[in-house]
């Protein structure tokens, strides 16, 4: 069996981050290995096939589908413009003023003509698609016609839940400490383009204000689900986010409700005030987990090697700092006192592997191992 606990989220002041920037379809890569890039630089581009517009010419002109060849002025593969005549009947008794015609509503080409259904498929103009670098860094690998890998040394904070997509801006800490609530009063016009850092919670009004002043994003400890619903206008049913168009990206580091941002996370972000942060709220909790992230790149040779310990691989040990992630001790921080190997009966009557935790206030409790996550010491 794997570890019976939730591995904590990654929070570190130095990490070599590599981001794959891949096109949805094959296209052109416009940077080369070794190039230095900035977040807004386009690294690859392609054209998606245009939208398809089906027109049933046989129905429109009132002819049997097998007569399609006789009326079609445009053939498969021909290019077309808006307003061009696609098909025309000969007219009653060959009189042209009694003929009927059908014009194209799109510019593009004729994809197919069917003699069975009378349907003509028109393909619109190709749609250009660009992939940007998203982070400041160096192109370390080129995947021919597909995209690139960009690496950068950075400070890195993994969030638990987010909304909104990729963006970037300077870090601006607007609250006093990790327990402060971020309200609309803390947000002013000088937050424009910035990544705002809050404490234990952000209010719905603060998010609205941030979007209004044009802030790039918000990083905060907790967020109330009721506010999330009021803000989005709908309830998030399954945690697959990132495509919301709300004008500001939100990265929640701890969970729903008012929860102090972990001290190490807050201190790290505070120490990086004024630096560029690249953030993404995209979250996917099913297979192939994606967590929201804050990447704060710094200048360092990507070939440098460093022993960066991943505290999460060490497993839970006596003395490990943990956070409880479920009621009745939700959000409380403490240290592991003991890890009894045998199953224990919980108040709910379930039997599970547990641990004893001593909270910061000195009180002790028995908690299922599945209900804690490790924190970096």
């Amino acid at each position: 069996m794997g570890h019976a606990y939730t591995p904590g989220l990654k929070v570190t002041d130095k990490l070599l981050v590599t981001k794959n920037r891949i096109l949805p379809l094959k296209g052109n890569v416009i940077v080369k290995k070794g190039d230095k890039v900035s977040p807004d630089d386009v690294v690859a581009q392609t054209h998606l096939p245009g939208k398809v517009d089906p027109v049933n010419i046989a129905n429109k002109l009132g002819i049997p589908p097998e007569d399609m060849d006789e009326v079609m002025l445009k053939k498969k593969g021909d290019s077309i413009e808006v307003g061009e005549i696609l098909a025309k009947t000969k007219g009653f008794l060959g009189l042209s003023f009694l003929s009927q015609s059908e014009k194209s509503h799109v510019s593009g080409s004729v994809e197919s003509v069917s003699n069975i259904t009378g349907q003509v498929l028109l393909r619109g103009q190709p749609i250009p698609v660009e992939v940007k670098a998203y982070v400041t860094g160096e192109v370390t690998e080129v995947f021919e016609k597909e995209g690139v890998a960009i690496s950068t040394w950075s400070s890195f904070v993994q969030g638990i839940f987010g909304i909104g997509g990729e963006t970037h801006g300077e870090i601006k800490v607007v609250v006093e400490n990790n327990a402060s609530v971020l309200t609309d009063k803390e947000i002013s016009d000088d937050c424009k383009g910035k990544v705002i850092v809050g404490g234990s919670m952000v209010t719905a009004d603060a998010i609205k204000k941030a979007a209004k002043v044009g802030a790039a994003g918000i990083v905060v400890g907790g967020f109330d689900d009721k506010d999330l619903r009021d803000f989005l206008g709908y309830d998030i049913g399954v945690a697959i986010t990132g495509s919301e168009e709300i004008g500001v990206t939100l990265v929640v580091t701890e969970g729903f409700g008012q929860i102090n941002m972990a001290g190490t996370t807050f201190e790290l972000l505070k120490s990086k005030e004024g630096k560029l942060a690249c953030i993404n709220g995209a979250t996917q909790i099913r297979a192939g987990v994606i967590r929201p992230e804050v990447i704060i790149p710094f200048d360092r040779d990507i070939n440098d090697k460093d022993d960066v310990d991943d505290f999460r691989e060490m497993g839970l040990q006596t003395g490990s700092p943990v956070r409880v992630i479920r009621h009745p001790y939700f959000g409380m921080l403490g240290k592991v006192v003991s890890l009894p190997p045998e199953l224990a009966e919980l108040e709910s009557g379930s039997r599970a592997r547990v641990l004893e935790v001593e909270f910061d206030d000195g009180k002790k409790a028995i908690v299922p191992r599945a209900n804690v996550e490790m924190l970096e010491s």
Binding site: F256, F330, S350
Partner: protein, 619 residues
């Protein structure tokens, strides 16, 4: 491995490669019967950094080796076969839902007819149906094309039209698919498989339209005439393509496919198969449910009409589950519907945050009794919603002209009526963490009763360790072994729910009952409207339910299975919970008054010893 004579098969090794855990079981024939010996599990290794499913399989089998002391893996890391002494297994079989399972899109001409038949075929084969495209699905053609293009299914099942009917519409659908030029989900090195199972006369035109772009397979029409479905050929082709394309693309599966003695089946397809096998062998009607973290599957076999021929149906409620999808259950069911099952008050803002925190940290478990009660309340709603969906899908064929007599006209049966008949249902089987691992078995029983609302006499059971998938694939090789293990080791028999149906104008008696237990003791009395009683009747030494003779005499207007007001004498089964006499009424409606609702909930929970009394003392 060499083909074996079924009688010579003494040792069976079976695995189920799930999206997170690979589970292995070892079955042995002892004293003439097949029994489960041990079970092992290990994390699935389909994703990075391992990217080889066989590693997880070997780890899970390794745990089985340790537990039973039988050597099953050789030095080169292969499964040893056939068995000899204390080494090896006679056959090895597997199911898989790793890497997202089998994801399909289906298309047909009329949404409620051929498209629905195609959906039934795909679901029955164990697939997740990502979307159903039909000529009349109210989307414009360009929207349908856009949708087909965006989805990246593993395969598409295309149907439409009855044989020798109109060809135009089905070819039109094929043209839309061709225009979308869909790409397969896994890998770009092969063409997307499309199965055509529509009007035979349109096959040639469909081939012309599609064969350049996709890997087209043509099978007999799944709805050759309006009155009949023929789903088997399409389902068989889905399984073939699942092996050839989907499985072959997933890391390590080519090796795993060589190891197994029967084709690897999609997990839900195998679960459906064991349920169907059991239902057919015993000639009974069955509903099975598997409530997972993300989805809830419901399977049923009902026997409508005089032929009593079993009709199998499966539905997947994609976003009803207890962890990843818990927030969606809450959103779909609404707060008051969840909270009606909770015998105390809880703050809405706090509840909403708790639900979302479970969604983002799906592996946590309820520690406090309050959390358990709340989680089981959500489970009841998830099961209820999934069953509503199942009832509306498991219907007699729609669009069929029925010849009616005067008598039929009064019965109000119509084309498209649900096959689900709770009064004739014999057994309800639950599976999935919240049901299989509830701290008390009575809790599982009550969750199933409250959400499925069985009528008349219905046996209840849960799958002990979720081995239905392995038994499903075993049923294709050795049905006898599969059914023996299913009855004796897989199922935990909870007991029987006895629920009289019908409305009373005022509170009063529903029926008299007399139950003669195996030791001769008689339990008798009157069941009043609003009562919930539990009579203990357990399991025998062989692990199978004890039986009791029962006489039920309902009052006028009340039916227990023999008709309104008619006495029923029958034999009923016990189990770890016992016999539940459910007099809460069918239809079952909770009291509207909040105080009364809480009083009744507590009374029922105490009667069945669901939660300790202390759990109600808050507030």
């Amino acid at each position: 491995m060499a083909k074996m004579n079924p009688e010579d098969i003494k040792i069976i090794l079976a695995t189920d490669c799930g999206s997170t855990t690979t589970k292995a079981i070892l079955i042995e024939k002892k004293d003439g019967e097949y029994r489960l010996m041990v079970r092992g599990e290990a994390p699935t290794t389909v994703e990075a950094p391992f990217e080889d499913v066989t590693k997880g399989v070997l780890n899970a089998v390794g745990e089985v080796e340790e537990l039973c002391g039988r050597k099953l893996i050789d030095e080169e890391g292969r499964i040893i076969s056939p068995a000899s002494g204390n080494v090896g297994t006679d056959i090895y079989i597997s199911t898989s839902s790793a890497g997202g399972g089998l994801q399909m899109m289906v298309a047909g001409v009329v949404r409620s007819m051929t498209a629905e038949s195609a959906e039934r075929a795909a679901l029955g084969a164990g697939s997740i149906v990502m979307d159903v495209i039909a000529s009349n699905d109210k989307r414009l053609p360009h929207e349908q094309i856009e949708r087909i293009r965006r989805l990246r299914p593993d395969m598409i099942l295309l149907s439409g039209g009855i044989d020798h009917g109109t060809t135009t519409h089905v070819v039109e659908i094929a043209e839309l698919v061709a225009a979308a030029d869909p790409k397969p989900r896994l890998g770009s090195g092969y063409k997307l498989p499309i199965i055509y199972a529509g009007n035979i006369d349109a096959a040639e035109a469909v081939k012309e339209t599609l064969s350049d772009k996709v890997d087209l397979k043509i099978v007999p029409n799944l709805r050759p005439v309006l009155e009949r479905e023929n789903l088997a050929p399409a389902r068989e082709e889905i399984h073939n393509l699942f092996m050839e394309h989907v499985m072959a693309q997933a890391p390590g599966y080519r090796t795993l496919m060589k190891w197994t003695d029967a084709p690897i089946m999609p997990t839900p397809g195998a679960v459906g198969l064991i349920i169907k096998t059991i239902a057919d062998i015993e000639g009974i009607e069955v509903v099975g449910v598997d409530i997972g973290g993300a989805t809830t599957d419901v399977f049923s076999v009902f026997r409508p009409g005089e032929s009593r021929e079993g009709v199998f149906n499966r539905t997947v409620s994609a976003n009803l589950g207890m962890s990843y999808s818990i927030s969606n259950v809450f959103a779909e069911a609404t707060l008051p519907m969840v909270m009606r099952w909770v015998p105390f008050h809880m703050d809405e803002r706090d509840l909403r945050n708790r639900v979302k925190n479970k969604m983002i940290r799906p592996t946590t478990i309820p520690q406090s009794m309050e959390e358990l009660i709340f989680e089981q309340a959500i489970a009841k709603e998830a099961l209820r919603l999934a069953f509503i969906q199942h009832k509306s899908f498991a219907t007699v064929l729609k669009g069929v002209q029925q010849q009616r007599t005067i008598a039929d006209a009064f019965e109000q049966t119509s084309s498209g009526a649900s096959l689900v008949n709770m009064m004739t249902l014999d057994i309800l089987v639950g599976s999935g963490g919240v049901l299989s691992h509830a701290p008390k078995r009575q809790q599982s029983a009550l969750m199933m009763i409250d959400s499925f609302v069985p009528e008349g006499i219905t046996r209840l059971a849960v799958d002990s360790i979720f081995m239905m998938p392995q038994l499903g694939v075993l049923a294709t090789v050795l049905p006898q072994a599969a059914t023996e293990v299913f009855n004796k080791d897989c199922l935990i028999h909870l007991g029987t729910c006895v629920a009289p149906v019908g409305e009373l104008k005022k509170p009063g008696p529903l029926m008299d009952y007399k139950i003669t237990l195996p030791d001769g003791k008689v339990e008798s009395g009157t069941l009043q409207l609003g009562d919930l009683k539990l009579i203990k009747l357990g399991l025998g030494e062989d692990g199978l339910p004890l039986k009791a003779k029962a006489e039920f005499e309902p009052v006028k207007n009340i039916d227990i299975g023999a008709g309104k007001g008619h006495k029923l004498e029958t034999e009923i089964s016990g189990g770890v919970t016992g016999i539940v006499l459910d007099g809460r009424g069918r239809p079952f409606v909770l009291p509207e008054d909040n105080k009364m609702r809480i009083t009744k909930l507590r009374e029922w929970m105490m009667a069945m010893d669901i939660y300790p009394a202390a759990a109600f003392e808050r507030q």
